[in-house]
């Protein structure tokens, strides 16, 4: 019984934890501009994150080595440091976006300027990282994040033309107002939003934090293979809401209020309250994950002591790193930069940094020294290799597309 409970809890938190500010914003933007015609990218991205999260979790459970230790070990100092630089930059960018997202959501709830919420939100993030146990932190944030399911409910209440949404999804015709270049630019953004590198840093380090062993592999696999696809479905509902309400009215999403507006239209003020709670929980949870991920990445690369299972004094440099990252995020936000803009850039940059993270994971998941008998099967390797190629193409195409489309304008 206890085991089923653990699996169910894991799945629920995986759903609630899957959606972050990047998924929220990117899916709403894409839904409002391209309808469901990019839905296939969400599917591709979810399969990809399932593959690599599962591999990194398996390596962590059996060898006790988290992802950035593997990156350092397999890529060596040069490529490893390049990856570290890129990953920490993107993770701090994402952290900035998440903290900004918390502030924006609180503004929608209260009417108080986000500038006032930013330091408060960041302090709360730090306090949780400093004092709250890992499992409590993950479960509470994940379960509250489930409030975002209201996007799915609203989609039904809005009563869209399902046939129309299906046609958009199947035909991949870009909207007449858009060009193929912007279509592909947003394809990469969605891909990056689904496969953000911090998710594998967090997932594998979380495995070490919770002291996974071989016996936990089934649970962790269930969490990933059920939770992430359901999280992806939630992403599609966000896009579907935007495609139903905003696309026909010619409204391009560029603010958080537009992202959650369809819920108000479908489910009224109650729905609005629930979705704002969900957004606060999801962005706050993701702020915790990205803050920790920045700490994990730097500590693991340098071989410092890390982990929330230790007292802060026993992982001093790890905690100092996270404090510095949060301070940087707050300072960036206080310049008045739009968190939504930061989000849009962070998901595309994520796509660029992916190959150097996923190559070592794939290699080590085949090495018996690390995973014993649990090496990848043939099918797993075939699919993962195709993904590695896909990731490489996306990474190479991202910057030129960004310049050509003026970042998707």
């Amino acid at each position: 019984m206890k085991k089923y409970f653990a699996v169910a809890l894991g799945i629920l938190t995986a759903i609630g934890g899957f959606v972050d500010i990047g998924d929220l914003v990117t899916n709403a933007v894409v839904g409002s501009r391209f309808g469901m015609s990019l839905a296939w990218v969400v599917v591709v991205g979810v399969v990809g994150i399932c593959l690599f999260a599962q591999m990194s979790g398996r390596v962590a459970a059996i060898s006790g080595r988290a992802t950035f230790e593997i990156i350092r070990e397999r890529l060596g100092p040069r490529a490893g440091a390049a990856n570290l630089g890129a990953s920490v930059l993107i993770t701090v960018m994402t952290l900035t976006a998440e903290v900004g997202g918390v502030a924006l959501a609180l503004q929608l709830a209260s009417g108080v300027q986000p500038l006032l919420w930013i330091p408060l939100a960041a302090f709360a993030v730090w306090l949780v990282i400093w004092r709250v146990k890992f499992s409590v932190m993950e479960n509470v944030a994940g379960l509250l994040g489930l409030a975002l399911v209201v996007f799915g409910v609203s989609l039904f209440l809005l009563g869209p033309d399902w046939g129309d949404l299906k046609t958009q999804a199947l035909q991949q015709t870009s909207h007449p107002r858009e060009t193929p270049l912007t279509y592909w630019y947003y394809a990469i953004a969605l891909f990056g939003a689904a496969m953000t590198p911090y998710e594998v840093f967090f997932f594998s380090s979380g495995g070490v934090e919770e002291k996974w062993t071989e016996e936990d592999l089934v649970t962790s696999r269930a969490n990933v293979l059920v939770g992430f696809p359901l999280g992806g479905l939630l992403s599609l509902c966000i896009a579907g809401c935007a495609a139903t309400v905003l696309l026909p009215r010619g409204i391009d999403v560029d603010a958080l209020s537009q992202t959650v507006f369809p819920v108000a239209m479908g489910a009224g003020q109650l729905g609005l309250a629930v979705v704002i709670l969900g957004v606060v929980a999801a962005t706050f949870g993701a702020a915790l994950e990205t803050g920790l991920s920045a700490g994990y990445a730097l500590a693991q690369f340098n071989g410092w002591s890390w982990g929330k299972f230790r007292r802060p004094a026993e992982a001093a440099r790890f905690h100092l790193t996270m404090i510095i990252c949060l301070v940087v995020a707050v300072l960036v936000l206080l310049t008045g930069v739009d968190p939504i803009l930061v989000t849009e850039y962070s998901v595309v940059f994520s796509a660029i940094a992916l190959p150097l993270t996923y190559l070592p994971i794939l290699v080590v998941a085949n090495d018996p020294q690390y995973v014993g008998e649990h090496v990848n099967g043939r099918l797993m390797n075939a699919v993962s290799t195709v993904y590695l190629a896909l990731i490489l193409v996306a990474a190479i195409a991202a910057i030129p597309l960004m310049i050509l489309t003026k970042a998707g304008a």
Binding site: G64, R72, G76, P77, W130, R131, V132, Q300, N302, W304
Partner: protein
């Protein structure tokens, strides 16, 4: 390329790049203390003819001493090399495990400094999360 003969050594075989460099080093209590950046050996004198009968042996692992020199060449000053003697190594696997506590190696000085001057001074810094 014809098939070359396979050399068999007794004992665990370690290729430096593959098995030792950039591996995580854990102390006696499984606390990470650093990565291997270099290895010190004795028995090689530059320019002299080498003695076939006495191969060099590893004396020290060098930890966290200059990722920059490894990326760009050069080397850090000898005084800043954080050494861990081979005699302290207990096992070489996916991580290198030592048989002594981390505090007995100077590579952990920055950890101790940050702990004593920053983290331990913040309220709650010495308590386990709840």
């Amino acid at each position: 390329m014809p098939d070359l003969p396979q050399h068999e050594s007794p004992g665990q075989v370690l290729d430096v790049e593959l098995h030792i460099l950039d591996r995580q080093v854990l102390d006696r209590d499984d606390v990470p203390i650093g990565h291997v950046d270099n290895i010190e050996v004795d028995g090689i004198e530059p320019g002299r003819e080498l003695d076939p009968a006495s191969p060099p042996v590893v004396t020290n692992l060098v930890l966290n001493s200059g990722i920059l020199p490894r990326m760009f060449g050069g080397r850090p000053p000898a005084s800043r090399l954080h050494r861990v003697p081979w005699s302290a190594v207990r096992n070489v696997g996916t991580a290198i495990e030592l048989g002594e506590p981390g505090a007995s190696f100077d590579v952990t000085w920055s950890e101790r400094w940050v702990r004593d001057h920053v983290i331990a001074r913040i309220p709650g810094g010495r308590h386990a999360p709840e």
